[in-house]
């Protein structure tokens, strides 16, 4: 079976490995990579996904033709190791060498070589030719525990009320805000955050993961294997009001802080969540049921947004596609065709979906960043999708986009809009006023409107009607014919 992919939406386990290891300040990575796999994963992309100048604790072996054709990568890795050591860059660091697709392609397994470089140095075979970023993250988190934590775990005493968070790594969309909110929820439920692994941890402290009474796994895509290894109760981070309430209650139950948890939920309803209650009671809430939503994001976000926006608020979920894709979901070709033909009001997605909307000329659909790939800064902690604050942020963002859409459909006198297509003036002597439409012509107009998202239809119906009539009048017709209607409407953007 030929294997074709359009706009690769998720990366490999090599990237997952270095995006995990790079967050640990007491690790230094040698990636067994050509210059490109080093630059893209350690600088060019994290510049724009994580808003960092580069990942500093990673050095490439720089695979060149010699390594591919003659020597293999062992000598290059040794050279880099010696230079790093001589420059003092390995002082107090755990050295981990990671394979890449290209090193795997030439069969470079450096397990034995790396263990001889310095005590404790290890080789991580990233399986980059086979595994995706989700499997990759899950596997390296578990590998770190097995190799650096498990043997000391027995010496750690479980502390009551203490909770770990597993995830994020680099390259996790919106992680700063979601992490911040989940920490707040844990504290609200009566817990205390112990380790955020790997993002705010040191590898030398990994055994302390065993101190926690409960683990929160931030994403459904990875971290579960580590959580299982830790042998304590664990739970996924929540999205939406219902899921968040259940999350806080469950934590309270496990930690023995039920009263605190219930008090927190009550207090949140009266404070943070008041905005949702107010918007629900106000005119904004009346729009929700008329809005269609498409979601392309991690399974964590797809499930959370579908539950919150769909079930709790009543928006209509037009389609969802998860990363990694679930077998029942449409493939990229179908997704692209759908966004070209009939985009919903709101499209949560990545740069790829944004491009498909541009290709289809979808001026009326609102694109909301919700996934990588794509350049975006999300370092402020004020844009969570998770938790109670996430419930407020998500709906606030939707309402503001509605306002924006409404603004854009208000008529603007065409004399002020040089970039718009002016409605042609009727020719002299032409019939004025509303023209009658043949029923076929009216059907063409209805079909054109049907393909537009709600809201856009309101003003589009008037504008499209005027455009068609203007052309008909210009040609001196006494009624709108199907020919004129289709001719004008076919050129309209969505």
């Amino acid at each position: 079976m030929p294997s074709i992919v359009r706009d690769m939406p998720e990366t490999s386990s090599y990237w997952a490995a270095i995006w995990t290891l790079g967050t640990l300040p007491d690790v230094h990575v040698i990636c067994d990579a050509p210059i490109g796999c080093f630059n893209l994963a350690a600088t060019a992309v994290p510049d724009y996904t994580d808003a960092i100048p580069h990942i500093e604790n990673i050095t490439p072996s720089v695979i060149r033709e010699t390594e591919v054709n003659t020597t293999g990568t062992g000598p290059a890795v040794k050279r880099v190791f010696q230079d790093l050591r001589d420059e003092g860059l390995l002082d107090n660091k755990h050295l981990i060498v990671v394979s890449t697709a290209e090193s795997e392609m030439i069969g470079s397994d450096l397990t034995d070589l790396v263990t001889q470089l310095q005590p404790g140095a290890r080789f991580f075979h990233s399986e980059s030719l086979t595994e995706d970023e989700w499997t990759g993250r899950d596997r390296i988190l578990a590998w770190l525990w097995d190799n650096y934590g498990a043997e000391n775990a027995a010496r750690m005493a479980v502390e009551p009320g203490v909770v770990n968070i597993i995830g994020p790594t680099y390259g996790c969309f919106n992680s700063a805000s979601d992490l911040h909110e989940v920490c707040r929820l844990i504290e609200g439920a009566g817990g205390r955050v112990n380790m955020v692994f790997p993002f705010e941890a040191r590898l030398s402290e990994i055994a302390e993961l065993a101190c926690a009474q409960v683990n929160v796994v931030l994403y459904k895509e990875f971290g579960q294997t580590l959580a299982e290894s830790l042998g304590r109760p664990w739970i996924h981070a929540p999205i939406g009001m219902r899921d968040t309430t259940a999350f806080v209650r469950q934590l309270g139950h496990w930690l023995g802080t039920t009263e605190e948890a219930e008090a927190f939920i009550q207090h949140e309803k009266q404070t943070t969540l008041q905005a949702v209650w107010d918007l629900w009671r106000g005119p904004q809430g009346d729009w929700f049921a008329s809005l269609s939503v498409g979601i392309v994001a991690t399974g964590t976000y797809v499930d959370g947004l579908s539950a919150y926006l769909g079930e709790e608020l009543g928006l209509s979920i037009a389609f969802t596609v998860s990363r990694p894709r679930r077998s029942a979901e449409i493939e990229t070709e179908a997704l692209r065709a759908l966004l070209h033909a009939r985009p919903p009001n709101l499209v949560y997605g990545s740069m790829n979906e944004k491009i498909y909307l541009s290709e289809g000329g979808a001026r009326q659909a609102s694109f909301i960043p919700a996934a990588f790939p794509g350049p975006i800064v999300r370092r402020s902690v004020g844009t969570p999708f998770m938790g109670y604050r996430g419930a407020v942020y998500l709906i606030q963002d939707i309402v503001n986009r509605l306002y924006e859409a409404l603004y854009n459909v208000l008529p603007l006198d065409s004399a002020y809009a040089p970039s718009g297509v002016p409605i042609p003036a009727p020719s002299v002597g032409a019939k004025r006023g509303n023209l009658p439409w043949t029923s076929e012509a009216k059907a063409i107009l209805d079909e054109a409107l049907e393909n537009l998202p709600y809201l856009a239809r309101i003003s589009a119906s008037r504008e499209l009607q005027m455009r068609v009539e203007a052309v008909a009048q210009q040609r001196g017709f006494s009624e709108v014919t199907p020919e004129v209607a289709s001719q004008v409407l076919v050129s309209q953007g969505k």
Partner: protein, 425 residues
């Protein structure tokens, strides 16, 4: 340790080369190929490579969907590289208006082997052109622009074209306003048509062999230049950069294209006066390190030196090449002490220690290092490519930007002090 790994000694005075600096080399080719109207590239590579290259193409290249033959263990070991690539080509050819399908063969496909004769020459209405850019064999992204362009010319240009007098092909990806300015000036000298390669038009590639001369604006198009020489098309040396460089360049074009020498001299002198006026109006007095990885760093250094700056150190990702030599000689004779090709981050950091510059034009890791010392720094790729550069107009725009950045020094110092305090506390 065994002796086979002891070749760590660096050339004298040069530090360890731990972190070579270039975008993924393949990106240069992909960018050029994605920007051509009617071109729908097909990549052949593994998951991580496709993700990264698609990402940067959607950032820097084009709003264009990118198809690929996805090569994992199953495809590579099961001999399905060709089958997948062919299927992706068929799919790409169905895109509206598709006239070109460049097939970009990357590291794992090249290592596994992608036989050109197994690919179609045509698909639908499109020409299929194979471009081989393994990052392990080509060491910088500017150089793959040359690989891509020469592959297109080899295949698409009508070599039997009639040579047209007083026409000129400009060579290099430049700021969009630059070719307009150059064209305007050349027409006043009597040139009848210019074209810029690589550009957005396939037609320009097809007509490439009909131009009377070639003027490389960037020094890393050695294969492309060789093509034009094979076609007996003369190549203009230098580039319209700075005061003396522009004057000499205009005169060379005048003589190559046999334009009226009186008119040429008049236009060249007027332009020289304008450039001189730009420098007189805003002379630079600063020490600047020019350390990008775009391959045109020496030309920028040259302009800055002419404007009065001290540029003790220039580094670039490309290798030494005869096309760069004139700029190198010019710079060395005017005080530039080090010019480093195929540079690494360590080379640049050593220069930062050694020269204490007032301004750095560099890569993102290096600019971050300069800013950590409170030194104004700009990412060469994003900031300089986004401004006119050539002729007096480009000089004015670039020098104004440099001066503005230098004037921002107190802000860089305040930031550095603020965040250092925060770290120490």
């Amino acid at each position: 340790m065994t002796s086979d790994i002891m070749s760590t000694a660096q050339p004298e005075g040069r530090s360890c080369q731990l972190h070579p600096q270039s975008m993924c080399p393949a990106f240069g080719a992909l960018r050029v190929l994605a920007r051509i109207e009617g071109s729908h590239p097909v990549l052949a590579s593994d998951t991580g490579c496709l993700y990264g290259l698609t990402f940067v193409t959607h950032f820097y290249g084009a709003r264009k969907s990118i198809l690929a033959a996805h090569l994992g263990t199953d495809e590579l070991m099961g001999g399905e590289v060709i089958e997948s690539t062919r299927a992706a080509i068929e799919e790409a050819a169905k895109e509206p208006g598709c006239a070109l399908v460049p097939v970009i063969s990357l590291c794992v496909a090249e290592t596994g082997g992608l036989a050109e004769e197994m690919l179609p020459q045509r698909a639908g209405n499109a020409d299929v052109v194979l471009v081989r850019v393994p990052a392990y064999a080509i060491h910088s992204h500017p150089e793959t622009k040359d690989v891509a362009l020469s592959a297109l010319l080899r295949r698409l240009s009508h070599t039997e074209s009639v040579r047209r007098d007083r026409t000129l092909a400009l060579l290099g990806e430049v700021f969009p306003a630059d070719p307009l300015a150059i064209d305007g000036l050349l027409r006043r000298m009597g040139v009848e048509e210019t074209v810029t390669l690589p550009g957005r038009s396939l037609d320009d590639l097809q007509r490439a062999a009909s131009f009377a001369a070639l003027a490389p604006l960037h020094p890393f198009y050695s294969d492309t230049v060789a093509f034009f020489r094979e076609w007996d098309i003369p190549v203009v040396g230098g580039a319209p950069v700075g005061i003396s460089g522009t004057y000499a360049w205009l005169q060379s074009i005048g003589s190559l294209l046999q334009l009226d020498p009186v008119v040429v001299t008049q236009v060249a002198e007027e332009e020289r006066e304008r450039s001189q006026a730009v420098v007189n109006a805003q002379p630079l007095s600063a020490r600047i390190l020019v350390t990008g990885y775009e391959g045109n760093e020496l030309a920028y250094a040259r302009m800055l030196v002419e404007a009065g700056a001290e540029v003790p150190y220039v580094s670039t990702s490309i290798g030494a090449d005869p096309l760069v030599l004139p700029d190198e000689t010019w710079l060395r004779s005017r005080g530039t002490q080090e010019i480093v090709y195929r540079k690494s981050l360590e080379d640049d950091i050593a220069a930062l220690d050694k020269y204490s510059p007032d301004l750095v034009l560099g890569t993102t890791p290096f600019c971050a290092a300069a800013k950590e010392r409170g030194i104004p720094a700009m990412y060469f790729t994003n900031q300089l490519s986004a401004r006119p550069f050539f002729l007096s107009g480009g000089m004015a725009a670039t020098l104004a930007f440099i001066q503005q950045t230098l004037d921002g020094k107190p802000r860089y110092e305040w930031m550095q002090a603020f965040f250092t305090e925060a770290t120490d506390a």
